[in-house]
């Protein structure tokens, strides 16, 4: 069984290669492969294990080599990952996270700033509006007050002028009325002298005129 397997291995390994048409593709030397195979089989047979028909996994003669190369390759991988790759990748990811955080913070700050500016603008607008309203009110009030004052002064002046004029009219009427008796007496004396041909008694005249004046 063992010998036939070994033969079959060799036949299978050597024979199909030229048929596939890539004899030199593997290692450049098509004769190297069967030589290695021969060495393997002779060495395993010499070790007394024989060519194992079972699982290659259970061939303990290969364990030392596998462990040796596993330790070497894993050590290299661990060194590269722990010293170079992991810090580098972690750094890049952390950098990105920081960058995003900073950018977000900056954006939030800018938003707050713009909101503050907006609020300031609104306040300034409201202030200006209030101020304008106030100053227009003040202006209106001042103008109104001035108008009122001028009106008052004018009406006072008018009233004073009116009173003065009325006083003068009153005086004139009084003096006129005072002179009405004299005029009536003279007129009556004239009329009497013309009618009667003789001068009227001044006392009678006096009495008659004042009585007539009293009747009004």
């Amino acid at each position: 069984m063992a010998g036939s397997t070994a033969n079959a291995f060799q036949v299978a390994d050597v024979a199909p290669e030229p048929e596939h048409g890539d004899p030199a593709a593997e290692h450049g030397d098509p004769t190297a492969e069967p030589l290695v195979m021969d060495e393997l089989h002779t060495s395993t047979e010499a070790d007394g294990h024989g060519a194992k028909p079972g699982l290659p996994q259970l061939d303990t003669t290969t364990f030392a080599s596998q462990l040796f190369w596993l330790v070497i390759s894993f050590a290299v991988l661990y060194f590269v990952i722990s010293r170079i790759a992991a810090p580098k990748i972690g750094g890049v990811i952390a950098d990105r996270a920081n960058r995003i955080k900073t950018d977000l913070d900056t954006a939030a700050q800018a938003k707050r700033d713009s909101e503050a500016a907006m609020a300031g603008y609104d306040k300034a607008l409201a202030d200006a509006r209030a101020k304008a309203l106030k100053s227009s009110d003040e202006m209106r009030n001042a103008v109104q007050a001035e108008i009122n004052a001028k009106n008052d002064a004018a009406s006072k002046q008018l009233a004073a002028d009116t009173a003065k004029a009325e006083a003068r009219i009153g005086e004139m009427r009084k003096s006129a009325m005072a002179r009405v008796g004299d005029v009536a007496k003279e007129t009556a004396a004239e009329v009497v002298s013309k009618l009667t041909g003789q001068a009227a008694n001044p006392a009678d005249l006096e009495a008659a005129v004042s009585a007539a004046l009293k009747r009004g």
Binding site: T5, F9, Q66, G90
Partner: protein, 253 residues
Amino acid sequence: MAAGHSPMEQFAIKPLIPIEIAGYDLSFTNASLWMLLAVGAGCALLTLGVKRDGIVPGRTQSVVELMYDFIERQTVGNVMGESGKKFFPFIFSLFIFIFFTNFLGLIPYSFTVTSHIIVTFAMALMVFATVLVVGFWTHGLHFFSLFVPSGAPAWIMPLLVPIEIISFLSRPISLSVRLAANMLAGHTMLKVFAGFVVTMLGAGGILSVLSIAPLIAGVLVTALEVLVAAIQAWVFALLTCIYLNEAVHLHEH
């Protein structure tokens, strides 16, 4: 079926450069090659794919940051909180190593490092050792209280404590077998379906026509394996987190 088409052949370890040190066969094999390729691919993606001033990430950087965030925040941070920070490089290394070995293993004619139980078991033991060191470093002998479930009545302890100890000790086994078995089963299944396609095509007649069926199945299994490759890497990282979290916080979650 010829032995050359054995679904197990893909898991064979072939020395490329024979090396022997102190009687140990430390040959550079196809397994070693794909380990180094996975580590190289992982390192290249994680270092060259990221620009220092990459405030706006490109496509590659987005992938890297997605992986980083997935493990750093959503896995380690989620399970362990602040205490997980110092374990993150270790857990991320485990994730990247398994992720890349799983995915490179899906390339036809490549080799799946994680399909070998010795590799996954070694990683599980690393996790187990870390848990022990962290546990005893943080809590001293009080770490043994991990095996005493809080709130259980005293008379049931003789039963519970051994169960807890066995469950604790079986963790590296379950952790490693889960990953290796998934890879082994998936790749075997792929190879079996692919073998069916070739065999049926070669048989001629109606079988050649019917060979479309295993082909479709193979495509679907490949899609499933892509999923499994990522999920198993994450499961390994997640369980590591859970175990480490227990070592740091004991029961007081």
